[in-house]
Point group: C2
Amino acid sequence: MSEAPWDRSRCSVAGTLAVVGEKWSLLVLREAFLGVRRFAEFQRVLGAPRAVLTDRLTRLVDEGILRRVPYQAEGERQRHEYRLTQKGIDLHPTLVALMAWGDKYLAEDGDVPVELRHRDCGEPVHLSLVCDAGHELSGARDVLPVPRVPGGGTDG
Amino acid sequence: MSEAPWDRSRCSVAGTLAVVGEKWSLLVLREAFLGVRRFAEFQRVLGAPRAVLTDRLTRLVDEGILRRVPYQAEGERQRHEYRLTQKGIDLHPTLVALMAWGDKYLAEDGDVPVELRHRDCGEPVHLSLVCDAGHELSGARDVLPVPRVPGGGTDG
DNA sequence: CGGGTCAGTTCGTCAAGTGAACTCAGCACG
DNA sequence: CGTGCTGAGTTCACTTGACGAACTGACCCG
């Protein structure tokens, strides 16, 4: 059942990448967050080969990240569309993080393709690292990774 | 120069994935954040083929995400090690986001391999989406994506 | 029944990942 | 000074996956 070479036991990053780390998977999700739901629409905006798209869509449905639901447009035949589940929606921070990095380093000339804003107040949003005590961390330097042995106690 | 099939013009997610979306790239970075610096160490903890590892390391150095610096251990010959640049450190939120999702959905039995804590106070840290007005967003629903045409004005 | 669209499969080709063996440099040992 | 060891990297044969175009099948329209 090892469908990926990544070592799941060592970190959740590997596990997550084993699920959505294949080519196109995260792009599919990106479009899903932008409202794309139908096969042909994914195909058009992504330009991915149909076979790959079928595979990724099926995979994401199998993983519970997308849901296939019947869909009936007016005057058209019934089709089905792909919609995000909660599990899929929870990948939003990942996409936001990827986008933020791309915005910073790949579009420094201000040519940001998509901007994220708070729906209520219209202000731009960004990711922030906070601890349970309410402190806002300034960066990776403030983070202490604590490895935990599976089955072992919480090492202080 | 199109080293990837992703459409860079549409979103920064695609651009970022074109840089670090290849197999093993993000895993290499994950280990880099955990303190791994030498080739053999990457090779051991990841189990990646050496050829691929060489390629990813070179690629990440070329992209300015890692830096190759000389390294001299006591009683050993001089070697070089790979260290994160600021550009690489800025990928930290991406890895945190991936890890958080994996922790939630792949290790629900509490078997979280690595926990991140605030270095100052020891409390667990998590990503949070905040807007420039200081509001903390509850999720992807509160986010409004605003597409911007390259070269066009800020469409309100 | 024929044409058109959406969704998906099949297939030949080509790029990429994989794992083992090989090379090369420098230190340790004798 | 030669031999062996280890870290870093390359080469190569094999397998997997991506690619793009053509094909199938369902369904609506006329």
